[in-house]
């Protein structure tokens, strides 16, 4: 039990550490210049010196990301609810949700930035378009997955549609919604970064994506890596937070959230 938990954290950490050692060794032995590939120690130094300004940029990106995620959760859930209430609405609108999803955001981001004057709002819309679909499709599936026998039982006791929604469909859909939310968490970060890339200096505030571009232009490659590192770290934290939320909400009943030790 304890050994398994230890292995779960220790094994990937060991792999990461070995990789960093290997990387450092290759850079030193091959004498690779830092503008081609900086060594991990150089990246760490850059992280220390540029840390405060990078963190300020991270905050800008994070604001867009979290706002987009919140909007995706809210509107994604609402759209799914609408779809589950009306079959005709789902049939007629779902294909367009798919189209919005499969259209590369890089291609439409310039348009959105032109149309939506407010820079923050423009970035938010881009990130939202990338993030909302998993929530819509998962939650729609969940709302339509209620146990048929339970539905029959609800009918037997004369349940109203509202009661069926509240006591049966919504709880059934919760794990699906949370699974969608976990995917959307990473996607809204990606969406925010892509939008910033396209927006470039158009925005008044500089997000982390713009700092990456800028560092690339100036061949400040260690800073580029430091910014990348912060970005991945943010993605991991968002995922872990949403995973924790999911586990907390489902802790009593859903197989996905029940610890192995509890069985």
């Amino acid at each position: 039990m304890n050994r398994a938990r230890l292995a779960r954290t220790a094994a990937p950490l060991a792999v990461g550490l070995l990789f960093l050692l290997f990387w450092q060794a290759v850079v030193e032995i091959e004498q690779i210049p830092p503008y081609i590939l900086p060594a991990p120690i150089a990246v760490a130094k850059s992280l220390l010196t540029d840390g405060p300004s990078l963190l300020a940029s991270l905050l800008v990106t994070l604001k867009v990301t979290l706002a987009a995620l919140a909007a995706a959760a809210f509107f994604g859930g609402a759209i799914a609810l609408l779809f589950s209430r009306s079959r005709i609405l789902e049939l007629s609108l779902f294909p367009y949700a798919v189209i919005l999803q499969v259209t590369p955001i890089v291609a439409i981001a310039p348009l959105i930035i032109i149309w939506v004057r407010e820079p923050f709002l423009a970035l938010l819309v881009c990130a939202w378009i990338v993030a909302f679909f998993p929530i819509v499709s998962n939650t729609t599936l969940g709302l339509n997955s209620a146990d048929r026998n339970l539905l029959a039982l609800f009918r037997l006791y004369g349940a109203t549609p509202g009661q069926t929604l509240l006591y049966l469909r919504l709880p059934t859909a919760l794990p699906y919604f949370l699974a969608g939310l976990r995917i959307s968490g990473g996607l809204s970060l990606i969406g925010a970064v892509v939008a910033e890339f396209v927006a470039g200096t158009g925005g008044t505030q500089t997000g982390l994506a713009f700092r990456i571009l800028e560092a690339g232009y100036r061949l400040a490659i260690p800073r580029l890596f430091a910014a990348l590192f912060l970005l991945s770290l943010t993605g991991i934290v968002i995922y872990l937070a949403l995973d924790g939320l999911s586990r907390f909400l489902l802790r009593h009943w859903h197989e996905s959230a029940v610890g192995e030790g509890e069985e």
Binding site: D147, N149, L150, A152, L153, F154, R155, L156, Y157, G158, A159, Q163, Y167, L168, P171, L174, H252, W253, H254, E255, V258
Partner: protein
């Protein structure tokens, strides 16, 4: 003692079916079903799988509309007068035992102190005191089925419908639940319709067996069970019980001969 319940409260049958027919597309699932079920009766619908007994039970419950025929129930029209137990426990995994058993009252919008007491009593009646705060996943299959039965009985329904409730349980649990169901029948006195494919189970539990054969499903024999009441485990090894089981098995075999295999 045997027909105390039926003789004391005579009157209209609780369930009255006339010429019930059910088709699914071109397939005829049920044909020409006439059935009266008296108040307080414990009727088993016995037959092989695919004979339409579940469909018939759902027609009685009003969950399925018959293609033809008339279904009349002589119970108070308000919802909650019918209890239904499915083949699976069909519990809500996100709710505790208490909240699962409380569901009928919640849907009927009657959740008060009195209802909560009745929920407690129903949970105790199925022998699950101390598990009120447990979640279904923490319970065994037999215990989950007990919760399901408590939920069906909590409104003290006039009519209790059970669809092969013990089919998925092991023999030992099944026997225990058979006895518990008989105790609950005596205590709450609902009219029971019990779907099963077990000759032994139907003979042990019911005071009437409707034998069904498939293609199309119809009632091939109507057997009155005159074993003494209340029943207990000793009955399972008695000669009367053995004789009855033999008779029902014989009727079933004869009925199946007539039906295309």
């Amino acid at each position: 003692m045997p027909n105390l319940l039926t003789s004391e409260r005579e009157g209209n049958p609780v369930v009255s079916l006339r010429g019930i027919e059910k088709r699914f597309g071109a397939v005829s699932a049920l044909a020409a079903i006439d059935l009266d079920i008296a108040r307080g009766e414990f009727l088993s619908l016995l037959g092989p799988s695919g004979c339409g007994k579940t469909t018939l039970l759902r027609i009685i419950a009003g969950l399925v509309e018959p293609t033809h025929g008339e279904r009349r129930l002589d119970i108070a029209s308000e919802a909650g007068r019918i209890g239904f137990v499915f083949q699976d426990p069909t519990l809500m995994p996100w709710n505790t035992v208490v909240d699962n058993v409380l569901l009928p009252f919640r849907l009927l919008r009657h959740v008060g102190h009195r209802e909560r007491e009745r929920v407690g009593a129903a949970i105790a009646a199925v022998g699950l005191e101390g598990f009120a705060r447990a979640y279904p996943r923490q319970l065994s299959g037999g215990m989950r089925m007990r919760v399901s039965i408590a939920r069906a009985l909590v409104t003290e329904p006039d009519l209790l419908l059970l669809d092969e409730p013990f089919a998925a349980l092991d023999e030992i649990t099944r026997m225990a639940l058979n006895d518990d169901l008989l105790r609950l029948w005596e205590r709450y006195q609902p009219t029971i319709v019990f779907v099963t494919h077990s000759v032994f189970e139907s003979a042990y539990l019911s005071n009437r067996i409707a034998l069904m054969t498939p293609r199309p499903g119809h009632i091939a024999a109507d057997i009155r069970v005159d074993l003494p009441q209340p029943r207990a485990r000793a009955l399972r090894t008695s000669p009367e019980y053995a004789a009855l089981c033999a008779r029902v098995s014989g009727e079933l075999a004869r009925a199946m001969e007539g039906a295309p295999g």
